[in-house]
């Protein structure tokens, strides 16, 4: 009985008792959710356009951020460094298309997945060779990202809002909005879905896979750069950042691999869910349940909808 009380009553009582903490938890969840979504978005773009699960997205986040900071440390002015970093992501996209994707057209998904793993290895080695393995600080103030905190008095307590978090939320939302429009309203958007459906048929109707892939990898590169800046500002820029990319997996799966809004909503559900779970229920089992809670949440949703919340329906026809 006691245990039932602890599971089903106590957390809610506590929520009521300290509503400011509840709001703070929700806000933290929201922010993590947005940040997860930002990483997930990179995956979605590429998956949507080629059916490739891009294992290298995590390292691309690191690589992009490192390039930016590395250039800055080498004496390039911040905004020029930003532009150069964008260009380097373009070069990366072109190279990936030429060297990896083009020869592997029409291969099974898992093979392309594996190829992106090769890419990951390469980028880790390459990145560390150039930038070294030691962590760097993100150039937040040079990029005019706000710092500081606003403390709002409410509900008998206070809630802290980091300006950086607010900025991250705004930027991520704008970005996701733009991408969603771009991919759903344009001719390219339709072509992307076609390519993801079948490389062969897309080729046969004259869609240029090469061009499409460069576009999406470039878009994913830019998303990676933004994610790198935001995560870097939060946690520092280092190769350990790529571990975070794993967190994008449940988000992605929950939202559906192919849906841009899915990434954001999945991110929010996971972010808020895991923070609430960890904060209110975690102590029951000694905490640290955050590591798997996200996956369990995703799993529960999947049992209900096997293609994720917004994913394309899995067509089962015979």
């Amino acid at each position: 009985m006691d245990i039932l009380y602890k599971i089903f009553i106590e957390p809610f009582v506590f929520m009521g008792e300290a509503p400011d903490l509840l709001i703070q938890t929700l806000w933290e969840g929201l922010v993590s959710g947005v940040l997860y979504a930002l990483i997930a978005l990179g995956f979605v773009l590429i998956f949507k356009a080629s059916g490739v699960f891009n294992f290298a997205q995590g390292i691309m986040v690191v690589f992009a951020a490192l390039t930016l900071v590395g250039l800055y440390e080498a004496g390039v002015p911040a905004f020029l460094a930003l532009i150069l970093a964008v260009l380097i992501m373009l070069v990366l996209a072109v190279v990936v298309e030429r060297v990896v994707l083009r020869p592997l057209v029409n291969q099974p998904d898992i093979i392309l997945f594996m190829a992106t793993f090769g890419l990951t290895y390469f980028l880790i080695g390459f990145g560390e060779l150039i930038f070294g393995g030691n962590p760097k600080e993100m150039i937040t103030s040079e990029l005019y990202l706000p710092r500081g905190t606003t403390e709002v008095e409410m509900l008998g307590g206070f809630v802290r809002f980091q300006h950086l978090d607010i900025a991250a939320t705004v930027i991520a939302s704008i970005m996701i909005g733009l991408l969603a429009v771009f991919f759903s309203k344009t001719r390219i958007g339709r072509a992307l879905r076609a390519v993801a459906d079948s490389h062969k048929a897309a080729l046969s109707v004259g869609i240029s896979l090469n061009q499409i892939w460069v576009i999406v990898w470039f878009a994913a590169g830019i998303v990676a750069l933004v994610a790198g800046i935001m995560w870097g500002a939060r946690a520092g820029v280092s190769f350990s950042l790529q571990i975070i990319a794993l967190k994008a997996l449940p988000v992605l799966i929950l939202g559906g691999f192919t849906s841009i809004p899915g990434a954001i909503i999945g991110g929010l559900i996971i972010g808020v869910g895991e923070k609430l779970g960890e904060f209110y229920w975690g102590p029951l089992v000694g905490g640290g349940i955050e590591t798997w809670l996200a996956y369990v949440i995703a799993l529960l949703f999947l049992l209900y909808r096997p293609q994720g919340l917004f994913g394309e329906k899995i067509i089962e026809r015979i």
């Binding site: 300290a18 903490l21 703070q24 938890t25 933290e28 922010v31 993590s32 880790i124 560390e128 070294g132 393995g133 030691n134 962590p135 600080e137 710092r147 905190t149 802290r160 980091q162 995560w231 939060r234 946690a235 520092g236 280092s238 190769f239 350990s240 950042l241 790529q242 571990i243 975070i244 794993l246 967190k247 895991e274 923070k275 960890e278 904060f279 975690g282 102590p283 000694g286 905490g287 640290g288 955050e290 590591t291």
Partner: protein
């Protein structure tokens, strides 16, 4: 020319490279300095070879196997995960293992683990020192009654090790413990832990972290407005980790047992003979930083082990077996430290056959916004409590590993 082979396990790559690089540089530069300045130790050149582990157990074990054949005099794995599988092998391969203030705490018992050394203090020592220091600040350990101490730790063997002691002390002094585990893959994403901190309002926070976890924790503490002067850490954060918190990190405290900075003849020699000659990989301004000096301390022990071995055996080219004996005879007293050009670099420390750790005192230092400042006299560990933990753990290890050999290695300082 005669030489001894000293492999250095390092990780300049991978997620923990941030901590690994300065340590590797410090380790390398000190020994290299000996080579350059003195032609090695006792006239024998040191052959230094780095093996990159990436803090990965798999590669660490591979490194061990690859150096094993080259008669290494000592191995320092620099990872608890790598140390554990090496412990049983050490006695068979006759290679001493130096796991400096990490690894298996029980291996402090030289009578049970003759081949493993973990000076100058165990994690239990460290925890007891921190609690002691906090107690003193409060005006006596009894004053801790009713207080709450939060323990933020990496959710792995390393981070969990001090928990039993902490709980023991909590019982003894009547304070409360709140545990905040951080999973390795969530190292950089600690917002829920710090939310819980805000909920529980612990009076003090103690951290057992490594790699990116430290910097992220400092950042989060600042973010969530935790009073930094109540935030303590075991000896692993470096300058970069504290710097990550920006101006808000001022007041952050950590335990340490050696100096930072370059105001020592030996460090000057490193600059002169190694760094200035371009033989170091370290950027000049990082020489003398905390983790760099940690690396120096590690190499200091290696060098002393070799020197003592030479003294004991009369041989110039010593083997792993000799160095094991040498290590058991390390005695870093002020005179010896002065001789080495490291006067005041660290507190005196002695290893014996039975005590492979020395349970040395450490001091508290504080981040003043740009550097570490020593703020306390040496704090002695609570020997009694630690001893109990240690003996229980050592006995446990021997019990669980039936056939664990009784010490048969010779002892040179039976007294």
């Amino acid at each position: 020319q005669d030489s001894v082979y000293v492999p250095l396990f390092t990780y300049r790559t991978g997620p923990f490279a941030g901590s690994g690089i300065p340590i590797a540089d410090g380790m390398h530069d000190y020994l290299q300095m000996l080579n350059e300045r003195d032609g090695g130790i006792g006239g024998v050149k040191l052959v230094l070879e780095e093996c990159e582990t990436g803090y990965d157990t798999k590669k660490g074990v591979e490194c061990y196997e690859s150096v094993k054949g080259k008669n290494p005099v000592i191995v320092n794995p620099w990872s608890t995960g790598i140390t554990l599988p090496l412990i049983p092998r050490a006695s068979v391969d006759k290679i001493p293992i130096l796991s400096m203030a990490y690894g298996l705490s029980a291996s402090a018992r030289g009578d049970i683990f003759p081949w493993v050394f973990n000076p100058p203090a165990t994690y239990w020592d460290g925890m007891s020192m921190i609690i002691k220091y906090i107690g003193e600040k409060e005006g006596g350990l009894e004053k801790l009654k009713g207080k709450k101490i939060g323990f933020l730790h990496l959710d792995a063997a390393f981070g969990k090790e001090p928990i039993p002691l902490l709980q023991e002390l909590a019982k003894q002094y009547g304070f409360e413990v709140a545990l905040y585990p951080v999973a390795a893959q969530d190292m950089q994403n600690q917002s829920s832990q710090w939310l819980s901190v805000r909920r529980d309002r612990p009076d003090y926070m103690v951290m057992w972290g490594w790699g990116a976890m430290n910097g992220a924790a400092v950042k989060e503490a600042v973010r969530s407005g935790y009073p930094m002067d109540k935030f303590y850490s075991v000896w692993w954060p470096g300058e970069d980790d504290a710097r990550a918190g920006g101006a808000g990190a001022k007041g952050f405290k950590m335990l340490n047992w050696h100096a930072v900075g370059t105001d020592y003849p030996a460090l000057k020699d490193i600059q002169k003979h190694v760094v200035d000659k371009g033989l170091s990989k370290s950027p000049k301004d990082k020489v003398g930083e905390l983790l760099y000096n940690r690396g120096i301390y590690n190499s200091l022990l290696i060098a002393e082990g070799i020197a003592q071995a030479q003294k004991l055996t009369g041989k110039k080219v010593v083997t792993g077996e000799d160095v094991r004996r040498g290590m058991e005879n390390i005695k870093l007293d002020p005179a010896r430290l002065k001789e080495l050009g490291l006067e005041g670099f660290t507190d005196p420390m002695t290893l014996t056959c039975t005590d492979h750790n020395s349970h040395s005192a450490a001091f508290m230092q504080e981040w003043d916004g740009s550097k570490w400042v020593k703020i306390s006299e040496p704090i002695k560990p609570m020997t009694e409590q630690v001893r109990a933990q240690l003996d229980a753990a050592a006995k446990d290890y021997a019990d669980k590993n039936p056939g664990w050999p009784k010490r048969s290695e010779r002892c040179d300082n039976q007294s």
